[in-house]
Amino acid sequence: MSESTRLTAWRLGLIFGALVIVESAVRLGWISSFFLAAPTRAAIVLWTELLHGNALWLTGITLFEIAACLIISTVFGVLAGFLLWRYQLIGTSYETLLAALFSSPVILAYPIFLVTFGRTSAAVIALSSIFGLIPIIINTKGAFQNVNPILLQVGASMNLTRKQMFRHILIPAVAPAIFSGFRLALTYILKSVLGLEYVAQVGGVGMWLSDAAFKFEVEEVYAGLFGTIMLSVLFLYLINRAESRVRK
């Protein structure tokens, strides 16, 4: 058995073991099913909702919001990051401000976005895009700043035009670092979209969870939570795979 298979087996074993303990605790009545749903029951509810309910539709809404945030963040983030690199004084000045903004609890300002955009997906997209925008700006600026000067000297010695230099040297050199920002952005967007959907009760999966909690449908709450976790894990897995491909 290879090292990675053994590690995966251990990880799956740990997760499965934890689920078995929870299942047993609920079935044996150690924990009331009013508080905790058995994992099998939650999985059945989730499956039923996916097949016959509107869970798929809600997942589609969440995915649409995430995609919209990602497009907005990437387009504006890469452009702003490039400009901040080109104009060094502005770049140095605003990088600190952006970092400060990013570390402050901006998400608490969501009522302002609800006032502006109404209780719609637009409010979720507008606020969540900020969380994606900042890491992309900072990483793009850093990526251009850290391009190895030898690469540029090689380009200059080959008499490359500015356009060729940008296309054949700068873009390939900055792509991995920009992708790291993209990865970070996607993680923050995912958290923000799901969190806002739940708190503001708009949009997709998060709203479903909020509705279920409001109705005290315990199994549905756990099913929604299970779905949210699966969505987050799937996203992180896909990002990791994509990043390792880019780095190759």
Partner: protein, 271 residues
């Protein structure tokens, strides 16, 4: 004329510092906001004048109106941070102490860290009710992940050679823990706690905006539902300032306890 031109050019050069640009940006934002707020040319309900926001902020600072809510939020964030530290640091030490444990557990913790913690709030409501403890729990789970992950990083960064040298000179397990591991991981733990505090503030206050009886997050939603936008802005400003101050204070406090980095020092200083 030449002198004036020279002075203007000199002032222009002096203004070309990051601090000046930041200050100028802030001034421009405030001026534009005030103009929009006073003239009502754009979203009159959304941009109250800066003076109205500052008046409201002054009320918070000079009257006891905010005290019960501040107490509730501080209790939640403080309790969350304490719980997260008590749970996260030992777990991080255990996971980081062995390569095999680290390889198995670290990816699981990383994947769990991505899940938005606020979505676990309904479970905490089921178990702990809608009072402060359910928000404390959300804050704790949010702060737990940066603390545990940075503690693991700290443990993994401890060089094997230090432990080997300590063993060679006959150091006991306790001495290795207190003289090698603790100083080596302290910086990472402190950073984890500082980042965890930010996560706890966001988690607890966001949960307050959902269901609560008291707290700063609860106040934000109250003002939103009453459409008291200036009060809402000033409260947000108050929270941002408080979070920034707590962050700076923590950074300073931890710098007093953090061991000095010796990586750039010449070995000659020890002889």
């Amino acid at each position: 004329m030449e002198v004036i031109r020279h002075d203007i050019a000199f002032a222009g050069i002096r203004l070309q510092t990051p601090l000046s640009v930041q200050a100028l940006t802030l001034v421009v934002i405030i001026a534009v906001w005030e103009l929009v707020g006073r003239t009502d040319i754009l979203f009159p309900d959304l941009f109250p004048s800066i003076t109205a926001i500052l008046e409201s902020l002054w009320t918070y600072l000079t009257t006891p109106i905010i005290v019960p809510h501040l107490k509730a939020s501080l209790y939640e964030v403080g309790g969350a941070l304490a719980l997260a530290t008590v749970g996260g640091v030992p777990l991080g030490i255990i996971v980081g102490s062995r390569r095999s444990w680290y390889q198995v557990a670290e990816p699981l913790i990383l994947y769990a860290a991505v899940v938005p913690k606020i979505v676990i709030f309904p479970i905490f409501i089921l178990f702990l009710g809608i009072d402060v403890h359910s928000k404390l729990a959300v804050g704790a789970i949010a702060a737990f992940f940066p603390i545990v992950l940075l503690t693991i990083t700290g443990m993994r960064e401890v060089k094997r050679v230090y432990v080997d040298v300590a063993r060679t000179v006959g150091a006991s397990t306790y001495q290795i823990a207190t003289h090698i591991y603790l100083p080596a991981i302290a910086g990472q733990i402190f950073t984890g706690i500082r980042i965890g505090m930010g996560a706890a503030v966001t988690g607890a206050l966001l949960a307050e905006t959902k269901i609560a009886r008291a707290g700063l997050g609860f106040m934000i939603v109250e003002y939103y539902s009453q459409f008291r936008i200036a009060d809402m802005y000033s409260l947000l400003l108050f929270i941002f300032l408080l979070a920034a101050l707590a962050n700076i204070a923590m950074k300073y406090l931890f710098s007093l306890f953090s061991p000095v980095s010796r990586t750039n020092r010449d070995a000659g200083m020890y002889f």
